[in-house]
Amino acid sequence: MIDDKLTPLIKDTIDVDDNARGFHAHYTALANNLPQIAKAFHSENYHLEMITCQDRREADTVFRLVYQFNALGKPQRHLIHVDIAPDATAPSITSTSPAADWYEREIYDMYGVSFDGHPDLKRILMEEDYVGHPLLKDYVDPPSPYREDSKEGEDG
């Protein structure tokens, strides 16, 4: 069972409810355990649904990576939160879940979080010579020839 395999890998169990809609289990984990967690889900025929990131530097001084795993055929969607320090890197899970490739590239593009072991970590949505990471809370877009720099409050 997936729960037995996850127990040694997770840090905290926030919620497990087999009758809930949406997420049936909600865990937090340490970044070092991510590859093992991905392998555990993979061995139980779970697939990676999504990875995303939250910029929580102001409140908790961390970036929070959010992983979703799901299995078809049974209502089991797992949510895993991984907090990493702003200057730290996270291990890539592309070797187990190839679907993570573009998600990790997007997180790198938008938040500047690096993933160790990613085969080709480069920008995915922004142009290659773009400077900065636009979804950071404190980010101000540099002047661009593609944008009319309208004044604050002006009706765009």
């Binding site: 949505l125 922004m126 142009e127 773009y130 636009p134 101000v140 877009d141 661009s144 020839p145 593609y146 944008r147 009319e148 720099d149 309208s150 004044k151 604050e152 002006e154 765009g156």
Partner: protein, 179 residues
């Protein structure tokens, strides 16, 4: 001598480089009658470049299909190669990452060439324009020189037809075109 020309004071409207000068003078030999004839031919046989950027492209495809049939006005020959096309219909939101490929395509098209900005996004960014946005190009005219703007979100195929008629008018008028 580049250094000499830099010493001269530039007045407004002065050609600053050879390209600009050529554009102002045009060809060295003017054959007015022949030019008019060529413009007549050009205006009635527009070959758009096959490419769509977003949802406006669906309306562009509808305009090309049987119900509206762009071929009726001789503009239905969508070319898959920029080397064979002379009209660029910018149909849809232009993301910043797409700006470079579009510039390349425009440069690959042989002159004379024209551009139609179809829909709100290509006019000024449309619904995606807000202070500090990082994703899109606010208006196709920041990348290519646009001849005709088509408002709408998306414009109906009839509006694209109207734009093509306006473009034909512009081509036929040549330098005498006024609005």
């Amino acid at each position: 001598m580049a250094s000499d020309s830099q010493d001269l004071p530039l007045v407004e409207g002065d050609p600053k480089n050879v390209e600009e000068m050529r554009e102002q003078i045009g060809p060295l030999i003017h054959l007015d009658v022949l030019e008019n004839l060529l413009n007549q031919a050009r205006s009635r046989s527009l070959w758009p470049l096959t490419f769509g950027l977003a949802c406006c492209a669906i309306e562009m495809m509808a305009a090309g299909a049987s119900r509206f049939d762009l071929d009726r006005i001789g503009a239905g020959v969508f070319r898959p190669s920029a080397r064979q096309a002379d009209v660029m219909i910018l149909a849809g939101t232009i993301s910043r990452k797409m700006a470079e490929p579009i510039k390349t395509l425009w440069d690959q098209m042989p002159s004379p060439k024209w551009a139609i900005a179809m829909g709100g996004c290509t006019i000024d960014g449309g619904p995606f324009k807000y202070p500090g946005q990082y994703a899109i190009v606010e208006g196709a005219d920041k990348i290519v020189p646009v001849d005709v703007y088509v408002p709408g979100c998306p414009p109906r195929p009839e509006a694209l037809f109207a734009a093509l008629f306006k473009l034909e008018e512009k081509i036929r008028a040549g330098k005498k075109f006024n609005g």
